[in-house]
């Protein structure tokens, strides 16, 4: 298999990984918000969110294993180096920078929601939500930068 084909496969897997992580992380954040809420949440909302969390988590785990397995099964050192060449590293750095500002913006929104609008946000939901936003923004930004290089 050529490097370009491996790169294409890796991109497809990363798209699936990002999409399922976005769903799983969002569902987990919502679940934690429901559990941490002062008023008991409706049973239907709690159950459907829990099911969505488990199902999307399982699919995300599948993509995670696939991604790790593919990376580990590549024995050719030159190919491994080429897959993580300087353009890829620049795109990763840029994606992390975008993610940093994304998390900062989300934190600012949360502060305003709590202080200004006196919203009740469970600390665990906020913590998971921040990780969710950070990872999702980083992965999405990376895919966008990488996709632009393809054009």
């Amino acid at each position: 298999m050529s490097l370009s084909e491996i790169q294409q496969q890796q991109r497809s897997t990363l798209i699936g990984y990002t999409a399922t992580y976005a769903v799983w992380g969002g569902a987990l954040t919502a679940l934690m918000a429901l559990i941490g809420a002062e008023a008991p949440p409706p049973r239907v909302a709690l159950l459907s969110t829990a099911i969505l969390t488990v199902v999307s988590g399982a699919i995300w785990a599948y993509f995670l294993i696939r991604l790790v397995w593919r990376a580990r099964s590549l024995k050719n050192a030159q190919m491994r180096h080429a897959l993580n060449d300087e353009r890829t590293q620049v795109n990763s750095t840029r994606a992390f920078a975008v993610s940093f500002w994304g998390v900062l913006a989300a934190a600012a929104v949360a502060v305003v929601a709590i202080v200004q609008f006196e919203m009740e946000l469970a600390p665990i939901a906020m913590a998971i939500g921040m990780i969710w936003i950070g990872v999702t923004v980083a992965l999405t930004a990376y895919l966008i930068f990488d996709g632009r290089d393809e054009a």
Binding site: S4, Q7, A82
Partner: protein, 75 residues
């Protein structure tokens, strides 16, 4: 091709064609992906000094033949 931000001119595509080498072939020779060679040729990505030197070496030319900053230092 000229890089949008840095103004770096590159003649990588011309030299590659001159020596009859494909993007994939050149990428393998310098240890990067074909996509990286493509982005350099289109002026979307500025390579590091190390990669620029590797490219020049692989194509048997000087790095100044491949890359230049037109207008820089002319005052």
């Amino acid at each position: 091709m000229r890089h949008e931000d840095t103004g770096l001119e590159n003649r990588l595509k011309i030299f590659r064609a001159k020596y009859g080498r494909s993007q994939e072939d050149l990428a393998t020779a310098v240890g990067v992906s074909r996509k990286t060679i493509n982005t350099i040729e289109r002026g979307k990505f500025t390579p590091s000094t190390v990669l620029a030197l590797k490219l020049a070496d692989a194509l048997g030319c000087r790095v100044e033949d491949l890359f230049s900053l037109n207008g820089f230092g002319e005052s």
